[in-house]
């Protein structure tokens, strides 16, 4: 998990720990499984560490220029064949893909809750 500041990375890890902690409390997950999930997460403030990833989900601020820059960088960092996905809800995937040399490997992956 990469972010621009250590404190943001820590905030992300804490959010995952708390979210899984609620499942542990409801006995939908064991504390050991919670620890196992957390052990699989490596935090970084250096985007170059994403070179180790097999699949990337970008979830930066909803700003087109920012996302285009991130995808251009990721394209240079990640191995060929690695899918670069974006959690965007409003920016064109075709446009984001155009910032890379692997447009066929770029896709939108928008995580959301069902409308009640």
């Amino acid at each position: 998990m990469s972010d621009i500041k250590d404190e943001f990375v820590q905030r992300g890890v804490n959010a995952i720990r708390d979210s899984l902690g609620r499942l542990v409390k409801k006995e939908k997950m064991t504390a050991a499984d919670q620890q196992a999930v957390l052990a699989r997460i490596t935090g970084t403030t250096s985007l170059s560490d994403m070179g180790k990833a097999d699949f990337v989900v970008e979830a930066a601020t909803e700003n087109e220029t920012l996302k285009l820059n991130i995808f251009k960088e990721l394209d240079g960092i990640c191995r060929p064949g690695v899918i670069l996905s974006s959690n965007t809800s409003s920016i064109s995937i075709t446009k984001i893909a155009g910032a890379t040399k692997r447009p066929e490997k770029v896709i939108g992956m928008h995580f959301m809750n069902p409308v009640p």
Binding site: I83, S85, A97, E104, V106, M109, F111, N113, P114
Partner: protein, 35 residues
């Protein structure tokens, strides 16, 4: 927990990329919704 994942293809997105991303969403325990 977020239940749904809207999967959005760009003009150049390959079928292989779409299928892999959809399958990964299911393995994450999410319900994929093609856009």
């Amino acid at each position: 927990m977020m239940k749904l994942v809207e999967i959005i293809k760009g003009l150049a997105t390959s079928e292989e990329t779409f299928t892999l991303t959809r399958d990964l969403s299911v393995r994450m325990g999410k319900t994929p919704v093609p856009a």
